[in-house]
Point group: C2
Chain length 333, copies 2
Amino acid sequence: MKKYIVAVVGATGVVGQEMINVLEQRKFPVKKLVPLASERSLGMTVKYKGENVDVQELKPESFENIDIALFSAGGSISEKFAPEAVQRGAVVIDNTSHFRMDNNVPLVVPEVNADALKEHQGIIANPNCSTAQLVVALKPIHDYATIERVVVSTYQSVSGAGKEAISELENQTRSMLNGQGQPEKNKFPYTIAFNVIPHIDVFLDNGYTKEEMKMIEETQKILDSEIAVTATTVRVPVFIGHSESVNIQTKKKISAKKVRELLKQAPGIEVQDDPASNIYPTPQEASGKDPVYAGRIREDISMKNGIELWCVADNLRKGAALNAVQIAEELIK
Amino acid sequence: MKKYIVAVVGATGVVGQEMINVLEQRKFPVKKLVPLASERSLGMTVKYKGENVDVQELKPESFENIDIALFSAGGSISEKFAPEAVQRGAVVIDNTSHFRMDNNVPLVVPEVNADALKEHQGIIANPNCSTAQLVVALKPIHDYATIERVVVSTYQSVSGAGKEAISELENQTRSMLNGQGQPEKNKFPYTIAFNVIPHIDVFLDNGYTKEEMKMIEETQKILDSEIAVTATTVRVPVFIGHSESVNIQTKKKISAKKVRELLKQAPGIEVQDDPASNIYPTPQEASGKDPVYAGRIREDISMKNGIELWCVADNLRKGAALNAVQIAEELIK
């Protein structure tokens, strides 16, 4: 079996570390792992297959001999270094938003549009975390009943905003429980401990946030440009796991039972839907796991062809690292 | 000025205590406050205007001479004792769900349908917390543009589930931060600390929860039976303050600017909507305050006549105690 030299750019970040975990857990045929990061991570190591691997400084020359480069170090790093990697013969799988809407870059969730990979020109984009889990849940419904419109509200964990955001939730929570007054705020504009914040990424002129527009445009690019989507993205005090309340309008009538049937057979998704036994997904239960989970599936009583559902996934895995490694797996098939 | 003997049933509960606070803060003309509760609260006192008032045991005879009785001690208590109070000449304002959908009982949010009070036969129902704030936000939009359909997803605080639920969030959070393993669960089917749970009240045959059906049916009863509503109600690890992501389809086109204008003039609601300065409501900021707050107002890009908004209120105040006292104020006008 052929083995590959794999670089992980942003190897010391939350998603970078998860990429390395997922490569190991899924037994990706790695000949050599090359963890790359900025200068300030020099001297650090990452754990891979029980060994400590030295983090190397990211430079254009880092990509000599690299077969596959997984990027997750911010859009400006991808902008600068992804072309350097491609020029040196690597295939880039980029987890940032930088190339996602580029017409020459396929945006891929393997369960949904693996075919789009065929057209890649060296760079493949990984979707936004909240989009990835959404399209996995929508795809089987769309194939059967043609989705016309989706209204989604999210409940997104702090790990989507990185390591410091995780510490911020922890520190703020401790401070509030100990009655130490107003805790420090850095990553979020309001206290996130015991609060919810309807604001992820920057605001745009149309009143939506960039995170919301990512969900809208990426869903259309991955699944179907004809689907109308609106989104409200909200940060909640959860460490790992994004949840989504999804309202779906279809062209053809579809029953809740049929949705359950379709999702049970679909790849990458598990149905957890037995209200009588309090079975439905929650982010804490989904944390550390691979599938997208769907529950609370019911026919929308406010219109003729509507479905309501609740979908949850580990945002660091299906929303980022896992999907990136799944793309790599498709590439080497 | 006429003064009234006011009973508070469930005086030691979270909402009961808030009712007493609100009576004091709004200078309701109370001749005498009569705090009532079950036998196990005997010996307790409540604070009212700087004095400790003894809690009395709830009995049918407790309502002799009572002018106004505010109930918030659970549906079965209201079922049993509200008629006893009415029979003795009291007007009952009931915060439980027991009488809300009764055709002979007005369900009132004063800013929306104060007129309905005229038809009362002794009992007036206070809506569910998540409904009260929603209809205050919808009313001005409905009057101007005729709302056809509403899709709402909620982010509800634990105080809506009472005192023990507040302790449960606090204890679980402490336990998890201290690494003491899986914390105890009593009030919620899953850990609520650092989690979200898409399940409030019991599940019904149509797949909705009772909380969701309350929002749907109560909105129709208070605002307009012609409005189609669907809801997903979700518990989040917040102590006080419910948030709602609301998608609104109107008959007539309405701009985001017009919605802001209308809400600014409307009673009971404050617009906090300046994305450029990170101004939008959060539950922590709304806690302890009276208004319903609206923000994130924008035109829905997924359809022709759609508005997205985010509304937040203190569920113990506008969602319960404040609305009940406002009803009492209307009654004595």
